[in-house]
């Protein structure tokens, strides 16, 4: 007498099916929420810790300020100080970029007995992503030719890429906007 069997199966399926629907709804919510959370966390704004991480921002700012001042200062009587700065602060592409930028100074340095003093007046860290940072630096230059006794002042601006390695920020990219 099989007449009694079929009615039993349908209601027994009802519960699992309903639960599966609930599970699917929860699953959809989880996916949407996860996607949104990842979108917020993974956004360019979120990955950039400039200013949000104040300690790291001021560390990068301070070290790059020192680096730029050292790299673009030169005393014909003590050229080793500048060479020391290039070894300490330059890395990667910046080595060649700096050489190109600074070549005219070195060319004149001996003949004119140049004393070039660079001070950073403004600097801002626009991005820090992990161990990479980008800064915009404004600097003042005081260039004295001891031979003629003449001093000239100039303002400069420089975009700097920096990389954090071994507990120090080093200059890995230099752009003086001259090209």
């Amino acid at each position: 007498m099989p007449r009694r069997t079929p009615p039993a199966t349908r209601p027994r399926l009802a519960a699992p099916v309903s639960l599966a629907v609930v599970a699917a709804a929860l699953g959809v919510f989880a996916i949407v929420a996860g996607h949104n959370a990842a979108g917020l966390r993974g956004s360019t704004a979120a990955r950039n810790t400039a200013l949000t991480d104040t300690a790291r921002t001021s560390e990068a700012n301070g070290q790059i300020t020192t680096a730029v001042a050292g790299l673009f200062s030169y005393d014909y009587a003590h050229p080793e100080k500048n060479r020391q700065a290039t070894r300490t602060f330059l890395s990667g592409n910046a080595v060649a970029q700096y050489r190109k930028l600074f070549a005219p100074v070195l060319e004149q340095a001996g003949k004119q007995r140049l004393v070039l003093a660079t001070t950073v007046t403004e600097s801002g860290v626009s991005t820090i992503q992990g161990d990479r940072a980008h800064l915009l630096v404004f600097a003042n230059e005081r260039n004295t030719a001891v031979k003629t006794g003449q001093t000239v002042f100039a303002g400069a601006m420089l975009a700097v890429d920096a990389t954090y390695r071994g507990g120090k920020w080093r200059v890995t990219g230099l752009d003086s906007f001259t090209e």
């Binding site: 929860l26 959370a37 673009f72 100074v105």
Partner: protein, 254 residues
């Protein structure tokens, strides 16, 4: 009386409920209700209905066998469905929480504020360094839209004089932001400081366009319509003009 044997074989009201009935447990308990009219048939039905009788369970009686037959079919599904709901609920709570905390994260909000200040600041500086004598009014309206506070006031105050000067000189000025950075951001005060490396091209009525670089420093103020420039000025050099390339030795008179 073998009332027990009626389990599962009697079409009780509960078993006939439509599929919307979500509670399978209720179904099984309802099965125990005996319909006296069907008693006589039960013995015959047992073997037919328990298509796969579990031999080891025989001593528990036909009723247990019958229930098992139902459970083998219903319970694993139900258990799987419950497990699925639990897992899905866990995921929903976890990711929902992650979404909530991300949406209410202070440093995340600060990052977004920094970026919107930078974008608005760059645009405002560019706008304020762009003016075409053929569309002076349009250009100056854009200046007003990009500024706030003291800067806006001074633009309003000097507007007529300035427009007349530009129209007389017949110059068109365009600007390009080379690089920029927010140097300070005060969330509560709604103020930000920005530095901008700018390239300005001035095209006179006759002659070639002249390009120069400019170092600018400004203050941004948050308004109801976004970040606006409230101060802007060139960064001064001790002497001489700004924007000279860094490594080029300053010209010397010989």
């Amino acid at each position: 009386m073998r009332a027990q044997s009626d389990e599962n074989t009697t079409p009780t009201p509960a078993e006939e409920t439509p599929p919307e009935d979500e509670d399978a447990v209720v179904d099984e308990e309802a099965d125990a209700v005996v319909d006296p009219e069907d008693e006589a048939d039960d013995e015959d039905d047992e073997d037919a209905e328990d298509g796969e009788p579990e031999d080891g369970e025989d001593e528990r009686g036909p009723s247990a066998l019958a229930a098992l037959g139902g459970r083998v079919f219903a319970r694993p599904l139900l258990a799987a469905a419950i497990a699925l709901v639990v897992v899905a609920a866990g995921c929903a709570v976890y990711f929902g929480g992650a979404w909530y905390t991300a949406a209410h994260d202070e440093s995340l909000r600060y990052s977004q504020m920094r970026d919107s200040a930078l974008v608005s600041g760059e645009q405002a500086v560019q706008n304020l360094n762009t003016l075409d004598y053929r569309h002076v009014d349009q250009g100056l309206n854009l200046w007003l839209q990009s500024s706030a506070g003291d800067l806006r006031n001074s633009i309003t105050a000097g507007r007529k004089t300035f427009a007349a000067q530009v129209q007389q000189a017949k110059t068109a000025t365009t600007a390009k932001v080379l690089d920029a950075a927010i140097t300070q951001l005060d969330e509560h005060a709604g103020k930000a400081a920005i530095i901008v490396a700018l390239e300005i091209t001035v095209t006179p009525a006759k002659g070639k366009p002249a390009t120069k670089q400019s170092r600018l420093q400004g203050e941004l103020t948050r308004t109801g319509a976004g970040w606006k420039l409230s101060k802007i000025g060139q960064v001064a050099v001790d002497t001489g003009a700004g924007g000279a390339p860094l490594a080029t030795p300053a010209p010397r008179a010989s």
